[in-house]
Symmetry: C3
Subunit: 181 residues, 3 copies
């Protein structure tokens, strides 16, 4: 393998890992429009309770997510295998869901899932062509929630979230001079 081929292989792997990560950030921050850049046009998602293309998936999530006060996806084990412009990735995750009332197990639960992705390179960027979100198990968190303290950095779903606002400042060149920029 030439150095250039090897470099390309490593860059592909990082880009695919980033793509899967960007999916979870889009869900957790309710930036659902970003899913259009993560799935290929017409890309298909198979979920617990849903099968359809990315546009239908956004519609489904738009109806579903307001039932919850928040979600956080903590991605884990990630493997990917690339063959030219197609790839398969598998990523395990812990998905946390919470809502009101806190003793309602349909709004307060932890699921574990494997995201199984068929990926394609389109116009030089990796996209999800088809995804199977394989739910392995789910557990109720009803009765376990600790009181939320309004102390320390607080998450939001809008631009005030620390991650969203810090990224905006970076992109605006507002985090000091980038010496090597």
């Amino acid at each position: 393998m030439t150095d250039r081929t090897e470099l390309r292989r490593l860059a592909d792997r990082l880009e695919i890992a980033d793509l899967v990560a960007r999916y979870t950030r889009a869900i957790d921050r309710r930036a659902l429009h970003e899913l259009r850049e993560i799935y290929a046009p017409g890309g298909i998602d198979h979920h617990t309770g849903f099968d359809g293309d990315v546009e239908a998936y956004i519609t489904w999530l738009t109806g579903l997510l307001p039932r919850l006060d928040g979600t956080l996806h903590v991605l884990g084990t990630h493997l990917a295998e690339v063959r030219g412009d197609v790839a398969v990735a598998e990523t395990s995750a812990t998905a946390r869901h919470w809502g009101t009332p806190a003793d309602d197990p349909s709004r307060n639960f932890t699921s574990i899932v494997r995201y199984v992705d068929h990926l394609e390179r389109l116009d030089g960027r990796w996209r999800i062509r088809e995804r199977w979100a394989v739910r392995e198990r789910a557990w109720s968190d009803a009765g376990r929630a600790l009181p939320r303290t309004e102390v320390g950095p607080m998450p939001t779903m809008d631009d005030r979230d620390p991650a969203t606002s810090l990224l905006a400042r970076l992109r605006a060149g507002d985090l000091g001079e980038a010496a090597r920029g």
Copy 2:
């Protein structure tokens, strides 16, 4: 450091991360024979309740895993340090276990572990020479399981699992043309 040395360093890190990830997939999908390509020949595993080489470990797991309906390892923090053909890696993980009956805490529990690995490069491939699976803590999930719905992509332990079947299709060239293949 030359570019080639730097490229090799990055490739080593990715290969080691993949190796640790392949271990968890082999366990979770009950593909225990794959452990022979993950550990070095004669490689040693130290586990809660087990010490021995990879062959004995496979035998031990073969007896143990049928007690459970499933497991999922969600890997987390991963660090590795490479010196030539030896390396040390440390990877934290959340390990989920579930079984029947659902109120039996010996079959339904979550453990957190640090995999501490002494690795060697053998014939150009990284392998585990010796592993310490350091269990930090475990908690019962008895009474928390939500009913399993037979909806959406379902996991299996055999070739019908979405990840296993999709990978097989990729390797068979059955996911469309790979333009740059």
Copy 3:
């Protein structure tokens, strides 16, 4: 993008991921002095119940951590965006805390957090300039702890821990010959 620029980009991403991982190891192994090499001098941390620079943060943790018997941070989703010598990273994590008595929810809980990091390259090394540890939610683990068995590899906070001692052996050249060293 030249190959050299691309190589540098990949190396930056790995170094930033490692930095975030080293933070959690420093906390979990109680090696708090290492935080001085992870944050920039005067680097700021915003935490649930704390705001201040790295020295004050170490002092705060030194008082707080003895309340607990142990912690383990399992990092998840990680994204980073680099612009020259500044960067922004976001990393989700599951943070486990346990202590005595086991039915005290203030010592036995699981929190989920997003580490939002403003990073700077100083003297060629990435450091945290400012961090927001955004706690999303926390749940009590009181009453769920399984008995700890003194079997298998045991964690410690000192040099006897399997990870700490194995790394020391690697660095001392004590894990066999490194053929390509």
